[in-house]
Symmetry: C2
Subunit: 252 residues, 2 copies
Amino acid sequence: MSQTVDRALSILPLLAQGPADLGQVAERLGVHKSTALRLLRTLHEHGLVYRQQDQRYRLGARLFALAQEAVENLDVREIAHPHLVELNQNCGHTVHLAVYEENEVLYIDKVESRYPVRMYSRIGKPVAITVAAVAKLLLADLSEAERRSVADKLDYPMYTPRSTPGAAAFLKELAAVREQGWATDLGGHEESINCVGAPIRGADGRVVAAMSVSAPNVVVTAEELLTLLPLVRRTADTISREYSGSNRPKKV
Amino acid sequence: MSQTVDRALSILPLLAQGPADLGQVAERLGVHKSTALRLLRTLHEHGLVYRQQDQRYRLGARLFALAQEAVENLDVREIAHPHLVELNQNCGHTVHLAVYEENEVLYIDKVESRYPVRMYSRIGKPVAITVAAVAKLLLADLSEAERRSVADKLDYPMYTPRSTPGAAAFLKELAAVREQGWATDLGGHEESINCVGAPIRGADGRVVAAMSVSAPNVVVTAEELLTLLPLVRRTADTISREYSGSNRPKKV
DNA sequence: AATGGGTGTTGCACATGTTGCAATCACATC
DNA sequence: GATGTGATTGCAACATGTGCAACACCCATT
């Protein structure tokens, strides 16, 4: 909508891939060097872009600070956190909290497993959307049309033989999740890791976030993990109630 | 330098404080509503801004993803990480890695304490710059003029009675740190928490990052923590060597 | 139903801010 | 000291962004 801003913002994902010098930025942006320079300067003044000693540009510090402030202002996260910790203390496994936003699902909180074997994930990192239990929960709550539209847009990487193979299978899985009110990921992302998850709902019943417990096979089998389901659901419901109470919908 | 981009970017910190509606954004930006709308739309298209159900805007998901990608591409971080983990396994305490950038010091990596009592901190969060050991290390390496300039610009909040009280004291401390090649924070940020830190240097000898070990009084006394200093310094030196090797300076 | 205040949104004429060029500078390397 | 690469600046042309005013919309009142 605004050409200049559009160009400037296009620089960010470009630099996210690694540092680049003025010429590279200009070329990949399709503009004259002088134009790129001015845009970079503006980004620099706002701290979103940093200039290293060798003159190349990379993403700057304020970006982290912003992302940090943003995530800390999310109501759900704040309310959920103590409950996630408690759950972690009860079962010892890694606990995740995730939200859906514009075709992406991302972790906004995490409590690390107390076992030495941990799974890799990081707050802010986009979730493997086609297989993760939290992703299924969040997408399952969308309208029929939205689910279809999102499912069509996605890629279906076969992380493991048990990954969701395509849109049809995914939609079927979402329907099942919607029906039963909880979700699993049994080795769909990494062969040896299983998850059980449950949705967190706002006062209007819509899913605002999803949480899950993950553990590797070497610690507990999938069956054992499933016995935690009631506990996970209870925790999610507690958070839902607390969230609904403090956050009465202003509209709708 | 670019008015439009400048205005658009000014929206981000504004939204970081909490969601705002179109009118508020326009007012705080000092522009017409229609202008603010177009800027917000552009930010929205790039995923930096999200529109919630009640029409208000808040920071968007892509911001996290960007910050995430950026931090993962930092060379020092990648090289340092395994060493930080090893150090953590040897001593059990929380280990931090931080860099300096444009008047800010921020954590770029962290390995959690294995003790139940943990200190609060988070990757991406700006460090308490006047008291943290890592901040002292990073600032101590700046030129005399830069140190003076930064020291003057800072605030000196008295987190505890042992916080650095002002610019003069801070500069003196920096000189000492520069001299001795390591730094501490003994209860300067939180009464009961102590840190010891050491610098990580590039091939040209300049400090590129700093690391520290932190532990609360209840776990180890300050004296006991100081006995870890040789280990911390050794780890920092190892990282420095590895970093210098893989990262020969292109210029200067 | 009708009214009114509060939003967010669109179309448009004007001029401001942005663009690309070409020239210049900074700084290596040969 | 010449040569090449990349960053930077000044400037004139004009594409872009701007504010205005009108409109659409939602909700609360009467």
